[in-house]
Subunit: 354 residues, 2 copies
Amino acid sequence: MTAVDLASWLGLRVPVLQAPMAGVQDGRLALAVAAAGGLGALPTATLGVPALREALNELRACGQPYNLNFFCHRPPVPDAAREHAWRETLATYYREADLDPAGVPAGAGRQPFDEMLAGVVEAFRPPVVSFHFGLPEPALLARVRAAGAKVLASATTVAEAQWLEARGVDAVIAQGLEAGGHRGHFLDDDLSRQLGTLALVPQVVAAVRVPVIAAGGIGDRRGVEAALALGAAAVQVGTAFLLCDEATTGPVHRSALTGRLQGIDPSHTAITNLFTGRPARGLVNRLMRERGPLDPTAPAFPLAGAALVPLRAHAEARGRADFTPLWAGQRADACRPGPAGDLVRQLAGLDPPR
Amino acid sequence: MTAVDLASWLGLRVPVLQAPMAGVQDGRLALAVAAAGGLGALPTATLGVPALREALNELRACGQPYNLNFFCHRPPVPDAAREHAWRETLATYYREADLDPAGVPAGAGRQPFDEMLAGVVEAFRPPVVSFHFGLPEPALLARVRAAGAKVLASATTVAEAQWLEARGVDAVIAQGLEAGGHRGHFLDDDLSRQLGTLALVPQVVAAVRVPVIAAGGIGDRRGVEAALALGAAAVQVGTAFLLCDEATTGPVHRSALTGRLQGIDPSHTAITNLFTGRPARGLVNRLMRERGPLDPTAPAFPLAGAALVPLRAHAEARGRADFTPLWAGQRADACRPGPAGDLVRQLAGLDPPR
């Protein structure tokens, strides 16, 4: 499918998808993207059901297509020994901040797609549903299809794209190594299997018959044109939206992205598992520098995050991002403040670059 | 400069540079690329002066522009303790192969650019000279310029591109993370600073005024079109030439690239320092799998290689690539047997894809 074909099939005016970004957006960003003719997305992983219902009511009312995004990881089995070791690892930071490790909350919420969320899909019938970390089990996926949603899912390798196609997804999001936030890999944990977008997209395009949406390292019109040249039918962009007026990106995250936070270089990201237990790309901060970005002792996704919550709050209250996940891809230079609709139009080549 | 501008300024008919690839090519590949209108390259790092003179005589006779490529690393200070530890690391493999560790040659030759090689440049006056790992010292660089060569050099970050531009290079080769062979980084050893080509190229294009040549993950016409869309004035392609008739790629390397070698997946590369002491991308083989691709105890570039020579020869004689550096980027799928000139024309969009 060409860019125009996929866009019109999805009901879009431009072949630009906004990447769902848990923690830095709510329905407002999705609405702004939808109003500009792109596909806005609402990430559900960190939303409670009341907030989800509220956002969905607004999105449904806008009359434009939107994408409801779910993580579909297997909930981890808590491991007391690993949790204990992780808290030992962080003990020095607790002492430094004069915080009580006993006050750490029990778990961090990243809700995987389940029966209850399938019920939400059936109730709201979102035009598009996307999955990260694979697909839900067949019975749940069948409920999503039966509710009329077009289904997208992330692939980081050719093998994952073929696996998704065999299970009937309508389009594959090929997520290159440049992308910010969580890597979507689900067939193989070996990060050396992850490919740059320029290498990944043409290989996926050659391997599957469904349309391919390119993601990772795309921040401006040039990136969109390159992705289309590689055979992608559309693009998914995340990082470039982080400073938009409608994003809920926090103050230290915004400062870090614009190079106004001491000790953070917005051009320097790394893939880290420290913040959630799963590899995700973010700006290199103090915790990543001191522990190394990948720590095999971090508790399984999403449990690693809980023990960081008090440290993060303590540091952020002092204007520091030492323990904050500063999710960003390799095009943080493309972030600009302003309305998200302007960015959508620039990515689509309708407006000149900011 | 646009693609056509840079190509004509370099005297080319098409904006396609063949990446210099020490160990898998001699002048024959460069001649074939030159005959097709691209820029052939001769890597000097592993050639002795007699072989270099012979190849240069042939290249000069062809009447087409060509690129003479040099490494410009600082020669390492030998470190007996590190060398000893490295041989201890490899001792188990020596025992398994029933080889005598005392028979290991003293050093591996990767000749950096020096007075003698500056003399070769003055004698042959190559139209283009390219450098990897930074630039030679100013007096040596001045001799290259005085000999009339246009100077290219590799950058892997925006900072490196600006550093090179400030020292007067005529064009920057922006080497993305997908590229095979040695990473060209020289300002910062931290591999997390390395960027995917799709993210790197537009940032370099925005940061420097000299033309930018995109390298890394480009294996077909789609990749070339994407690179040009990103603002590159030309592309440099390596991996896709590895199976060409004119390449000297060895038998196990060719088998590995085509998926006919047990235990090697041509779609799986990693950045490793095991073979030379410097990070370089190659297909994952036994040594990389068993030691992990990055080993901080490996001797400094290029010394790590010497102790592998007997192991490599022993394994290759048995049809195995356990200790062979199988340099390749993330588009090994783009490798096809055939004349290099055909590949140049396909990359340039003059012939349909193979």
